[in-house]
């Protein structure tokens, strides 16, 4: 194999890398993006697409060239060249990939810090999962007054746009997982007991697109796993405030008749936890 052949092969690799990267970058692989965290994650994935195209091109070009060039002629029963290795080459393909993956790790770490950075005006949100139902609690929006005051709860997730949510998750029975694909963020809900402090049950996400999305349970939780979904509505602050006051009125009206409702709710939830 001559130097010129190597040059040609490298050119083919680069050409394939460029063409396949350009084609593959046209797609929004992760679907629509609707959170501030989605941006950096999608960028990381785009970088990985280019890098993967490059690696795949190297392997496939060498592979195809070897098969085309060194395929046995009919009747050729001779042996190949007795080449046992090449120390410099072997060092190269140990060291260069090491550098590349360490770069990938460092870059991912930076992105991870980026998407987990905490904003100053977070809105706390408490998410509870149980077979096969989601409940959302808004600790900042208290309903009622005095001893009977309780946070607003809802089966549908409404959040204001462009405000970071500080989400705390909790499972009542088995594992569930919180995922809004457009937000790119996912976290398992873990049933916790006395040792629950050790569980990392809080994450942040900042929805930045208004619209209606689907919350999907992604951890197998039993028979109803595929139906365990909830509607997510991201809306303007005004629309959100409007929704909160409507919900608060409805909730207050419902709880006015039954004062002990909240305590019996708690008991029912505990009983549900297998």
């Amino acid at each position: 194999m001559t130097r010129a052949t190597y040059g040609k092969l490298i050119l083919v690799m680069l050409a394939i890398t460029v063409v396949s990267s350009v084609v593959l970058l046209q797609f929004e692989w992760f679907g629509d993006a609707a959170s501030e965290q989605a941006g950096p994650i999608d960028t990381l994935f785009d970088v990985m697409i280019v890098l993967s195209c490059f690696v795949f091109a190297i392997v496939m070009v060498m592979f195809a060239y070897a098969l085309w060039k060194y395929r046995a002629k009919p009747g050729d029963e001779s042996d190949g060249k007795p080449i046992h290795g090449n120390t410099r080459l072997e060092i190269a393909w140990t060291v260069i990939p090491t550098i590349i993956v360490l770069f990938g790790a460092a870059y991912s770490w930076v992105i991870l810090d980026d998407i987990e950075a905490e904003a100053s005006d977070q809105m706390p949100l408490h998410v509870t999962g149980q077979q096969y139902k989601w409940t959302f609690e808004y600790p900042e929006e208290m309903v009622g007054s005095g001893d009977s005051a309780a946070p607003l709860t809802s089966d549908e997730l409404h959040v204001p746009v462009d405000r970071q949510l500080e989400v705390t998750v909790e499972a009542l029975d088995v594992l569930h997982s919180f995922w809004v694909p457009e937000w790119r963020i996912k976290r398992d809900l873990v049933p916790s007991g006395p040792g629950g402090d050790e569980i990392d049950d809080t994450f942040v996400v900042t929805p930045n697109e208004e619209g209606t999305f689907s919350l999907v349970c992604t951890e197998l939780c039993g028979l109803g796993h595929s139906t365990m979904r909830a509607t997510v509505v991201v809306e303007s602050q005004e629309a959100f405030d409007q929704w909160v006051s409507e919900q608060a009125q409805a909730q207050e009206g419902a709880s006015a008749g039954a004062t002990e409702a909240s305590s019996s709710d708690g008991a029912a939830a505990a009983a549900n936890g297998t």
Binding site: M1, F27, W29, F30, G31, I41, L44, F45, M48, S52, V59, M60, F63, L67, Y70, A72, S78, D79, G80, K81, P82, I83, H84, G85, L89, E90, W93, T94, V101, L102, G104, A105, S108, W109, I115, D173, V174, L175, P181, R184, K186, D188, L189, V190, P191, G193, P194, G195, E198, D200, S214, V216, T218, C221, G222, L223, H225, S226, T227, T274
Partner: protein, 645 residues
């Protein structure tokens, strides 16, 4: 009556009945004495079924004769002198009894595991039939959950892991010039525990509540509260695990102590290196899954509360212990395949493996690193968040030794004389393509921010099938085709083999490539129903999967017919250098009349006059002192290269 007195399937059946009756009676008696309700039939209970599910299979093994020799020895009775009646096979019946011949055991393993491969594949077809369209058409969600759980359990525990043990059982002792494995009776026991595991998994379909349905991962607390079938999973894993551990010990001792004279570590074929590495993983990691499944079983039936959060149990610790085994397990399912590919590529490219020593060291590197990456399965689990970054770094680093192997295989092809006439070679080459794709998606998954998005989606399903089907199963096919002539003494039909390969490749790509993007766009895994936007791609996936399924029937037909009626194979149809090809096909009952002497590296293709081994009885004169370094083989006179007999 003698059928029930002498070791064999008849006495095994009786042993099963006695064992099961004993277990059942024990539970009933103990509960009666304790004043408990005799039959406890809460969904996680049923001790009167669980205990017989342990004692029945043990009774079967005793009845079969797995312990006869040891029992006599332990009781101080005169042991039966070894008359080799448990050695070799002269008819098909010999495969259905306790047989200590590593070649018979190898065939037993391979046939048994392919039976479970077929069953697991049929289950996959049912899964794909259900998923072809959104909505529920064929099976209800509970059955569906049971189907994908048993599919994975069968494929992992009683197909991929043990079929590699089967292939290695057959060829490894021959390759290192050993007359058998180090512990032949333990070897036979290891095999016979395997069908117990598979039958326990399958019989869970028959028990109240249906088959185990918490996934093959069996995460607590879903598994601790699941119906009775889950206990059958817990027990099945014990039998498969014990079988694996015993086999791995056997391989370790065999490889370390039974190599032929001259077979230094640096002269071992890479298949032997691969099984050495795999066995190191199995002996240290498998006890963890055995332990954690016992903990789940105890939580279920003894109320131990290991994973009951309300009583101070730690739910996440299940995942840590489980993945501390199950991540190394993906290498347990891949390293033997790496070994097979090295053998096949160098033989059919007529070239020494490029960078042999680095290839062996890369295997060891993977073994070490694979113990340090388990928490990458748990990036979104809510575990201690600091653990994510170090586990991400080790996960990405494991791509380096894996990359070394890919690059070295490619370099092996360069300047070779590549023959594509063998289906084994096609599968080995196809493996390189599909495994690189699986490796790339694996690197992506190793990155925490990407994993947060795609974790538990179809992207994961795509990745595991690219590495387990495109990776492991392709290498299994390569190995089966490669050593089929050696094992059966017959040639298979290459034309059918090629049809099998191309249909499998097309079906595999069509099935698993689209799974990447439905996952990335939002389809979670393990769902019986999905959003209608994914309907079209799922139909494509299902159709491709049926092609994949049909292709395997061609394989089965080819294997069965060729085994019976194929043309006779010569001892060395591929003109390979390693020792197993220097004996007849199939090999003699005791492998060698005289232990061969190893005088050089295993892949000395193209080196004039180089030999790997000198067989007993050969009049080969080696004038020079044996070179200690593989690859530095010097010309030895009096013998020509590729001297097959």
């Amino acid at each position: 009556m003698s059928a029930l007195r002498n070791p064999g399937l008849g006495r095994a059946g009786l042993g099963f009945a006695i064992g099961a009756a004993f277990g059942f009676g024990l539970v009933v008696a103990l509960r009666a004495i304790s004043g408990l309700e005799i039959f406890q039939t809460e969904q996680t209970g049923y001790p009167h079924l669980i205990v017989p599910a342990i004692t029945g299979p043990l009774g079967f093994l005793v009845g079969l004769g797995c312990f006869d020799y040891w029992f006599r020895w332990a009781a101080g009775k005169p042991t039966i002198a070894e008359d080799h009646s448990q050695h070799g096979a002269t008819s098909w019946r010999d495969y259905f009894r306790f047989n200590t011949d590593h070649k018979v055991i190898g065939i037993q393993y391979i046939v048994t595991t392919f039976f479970f491969f077929l069953v697991g594949g049929l289950i996959a077809m049912l899964i794909r039939a259900e998923l072809a369209q959104p909505g529920t058409q064929i099976v209800d969600p509970q059955t569906y959950n049971g189907l994908f759980s048993t599919h994975a359990a069968l494929m992992i525990f009683v197909f991929v892991i043990p079929v590699f043990a089967g292939i290695a059982n057959y060829v490894l002792p021959l390759m290192i010039g050993a007359p058998d494995m180090a512990f032949p009776r333990l070897n036979a026991l290891s095999f016979w525990m395997l069908p117990m595991a598979g039958l326990l998994f399958l019989s869970s379909f028959l028990v109240p509540g249906g088959a185990f349905d918490a996934g093959w991962t069996g995460y607590a607390p879903l598994s601790t509260g699941a119906p009775l079938g889950q206990s059958f999973f817990n027990l099945g894993v014990q039998f498969a695990g014990a079988s694996s551990i015993a086999t791995a010990l056997n391989f370790l001792v065999t490889i370390i102590t039974m190599r032929a004279p001259g077979m230094t570590f640096w002269r071992m074929p890479l298949l032997v290196w691969a099984n050495l590495s795999t066995s190191l993983l199995v002996v240290a990691a498998t006890p963890f899954i055995a332990g954690v499944q016992f903990m789940v079983l105890f939580d279920r039936v003894l109320h131990t509360n290991f994973f009951a959060a309300a009583y101070g149990g730690d739910v996440l610790s299940y995942q840590h212990i489980f993945w501390f085994y199950s991540h190394p397990a993906v290498y347990i399912m891949m390293l033997p395949g790496f070994g097979i590919v090295s053998e096949v590529l160098s033989t059919h490219a007529r070239k020494p493996i490029f960078g042999y020593r680095l290839m062996a060291l890369a295997l060891i590197g993977i073994v070490v690193l694979s113990y340090t990456v388990w928490a990458h399965h748990m990036f979104v689990s809510g575990m201690f968040s600091w653990l994510r970054v170090p586990m991400m770094i080790t996960t990405l680093l494991i791509a380096v030794p894996t990359g070394i192997k890919i690059f070295s295989w490619l370099a092996t092809l360069f300047d070779g004389v590549i023959h594509l006439r063998s289906t084994a070679m096609l599968f080995a080459l196809g493996f390189i393509v599909t495994f690189v794709i699986g490796g790339i998606s694996g690197v992506m998954l190793g990155m925490v921010p990407i994993d947060i998005h795609v974790s538990d989606t179809y992207f994961i399903v795509a990745h595991i099938h690219f590495v387990l089907f495109g990776g492991s199963v392709f290498t299994i096919f390569a190995g089966i085709y490669h050593w089929f002539p050696k094992m059966t003494g017959r040639m298979y039909d290459e034309r059918l083999g090629r049809v099998h390969f191309y249909l499998t490749l097309v079906g595999m790509l069509g099935t698993f490539i689209p799974m990447h993007w439905v996952g990335m766009e939002g389809m979670p895994r393990r769902v019986a129903d999905y959003a209608s936007q994914f309907g079209d791609w799922n139909l494509v996936i299902s159709i491709s999967s049926f092609i994949l399924g049909i292709a395997q029937l061609i394989f089965m037909y080819n294997m069965i017919v060729s085994w019976k009626w194929g043309p006779r194979a010569t001892s060395n149809p591929w003109r390979a250098n390693t020792i197993e090809w220097q004996v007849s096909s199939p090999p003699p009952v005791f492998n060698f009349d005289e232990i061969p002497r190893v005088v050089g590296g295993p892949y000395e293709y193209g080196v004039p006059g180089a030999r790997h081994a000198i067989m007993g009885g050969e009049e080969a004169v080696v004038r020079q002192p044996e070179p200690a370094v593989a690859g530095a083989a010097t010309t030895s006179s009096g013998s020509s290269a590729g001297g097959s007999s």
